[in-house]
Symmetry: C2
Subunit: 234 residues, 2 copies
């Protein structure tokens, strides 16, 4: 699989929509965006209200966050505001401009918490200098669920790096790790029991340092190059 | 604004798609989903590949994660697999089934790290019992950027609760906090300087305990009811 292109060709613009939740609503929205020259990149349904009272005939209403590339804000609003299904529209900020790049930490609670400590402290330093890096975690102990989470990172918007924080990982998790790296997302693992340490980009023994290095690896404001550390253990 | 409906009417199903990235691709996909009786709920563009070699004539290819409600997996795949723009399709797991409910922690690095420590440890305990709770953080110091982040939480998929972790917050952040609560997302704040403590659901002095309570408040496996604690300080 080719390496993912981290930056979009044009900055995304975003709108928050209240829409009548009909079967064809999304197709009509996507058509209008296309007619304005844009490409729909992200849709998040943030709420569905069965009977909101917004519509006099109690049609179901949904709220969407829509991100579009290759169109400017005015063209996007103009293309959607007179659409029959659109109840309300307002400009908002694309998630990339707020929460930015994501470092994902998956594993056992004790280690995840320590990796997060290092990563959050380091992200704070870079975010002060204009970066936008967030640290997202999920504690899971069972191996099968960790393997699912590793695979799912490939489909998480804005995910840039995964840290595997545990005491023993291998088997299906190692296979999932190779799939994720092939999709272009590097992995740092704690030094631990199991085959996982042979299937990641970097192995770090101290969890706080692992979190710190993870953020340094994705920060444009750092001089740390993960590619030059590949295969090393610290 | 009516309170958001936390659970969808039907469980979402998800596919990972490689598509030819044309202007009308999303509209054609949404039409097919609608014809199969489904509603598009989430679209994430996880990569765009300018010239992937997948297509003989080097048409640009994008990879999407698509989540749909009100259609089953087979109907969803059947509706999309013969679409001209679809290069590849495979079933995947909806994000709700992997990363689950999200507790968001926003604020200064030192406090965010301590809140995350409590929240990750508590999430670990609940996830062992079948819950799916993740803890997502972003350290920001400047007030204006925190206010933006607070507002953006309303548009984050699966966000259930916000923890404001800092030493001084008020003004625009307090206004953003009231907007977020009106959108149905409760807020826990650390005890701190500024007006923010008058504009949240619960104030907690110890950051580790604030993180713990935040996870308890969203866990179905806990007996903690934030509504009964509203307005209190610990």
């Amino acid at each position: 699989m080719p390496r993912r292109q981290p930056e979009p060709a044009t900055p995304a613009v975003a709108v928050h929509l209240e829409v009548v939740d009909r079967a064809d609503t999304m197709a009509r929205i996507a058509e209008r965006v296309a007619a304005a020259g844009g490409r729909v990149r992200t849709v998040s349904t943030v709420s569905r209200v069965a009977s909101a009272g917004v519509e006099p005939d109690d049609r179901p209403v949904a709220e969407l966050e829509l991100e579009v590339e290759q169109a400017d804000e005015h063209a996007l609003v103009a293309s959607l505001e007179d659409l029959d299904a659109v109840v309300a529209i307002r400009l908002t900020r694309p998630m990339d401009k707020v929460f930015g790049k994501r470092v994902i930490v998956v594993g056992g609670g004790a280690q995840v918490a320590q990796v997060a400590l290092g990563a959050v402290s380091e992200a704070d330093r870079h975010n002060l200098r204009g970066e936008r890096i967030s640290v997202d975690t999920i504690p899971y102990l069972a191996g099968e669920r960790i393997a699912s989470a590793v695979r799912a990172v490939a489909d998480l918007p804005r995910a840039r790096l995964l840290v595997l924080a545990g005491s023993i990982m291998g088997g299906e998790i190692s296979r999932a790790a190779e799939e994720l790296r092939a999709a272009g997302i590097p992995i740092i693992a704690l030094n631990m029991v199991g085959s996982i340490t042979d299937h990641v980009d970097l192995v770090v023994s101290d969890p706080v340092q692992a979190g710190t290095m993870a953020v340094m690896a994705v920060a444009d404001t750092a001089t740390f190059d993960l590619a030059r550390q590949r295969g090393r253990k610290y």
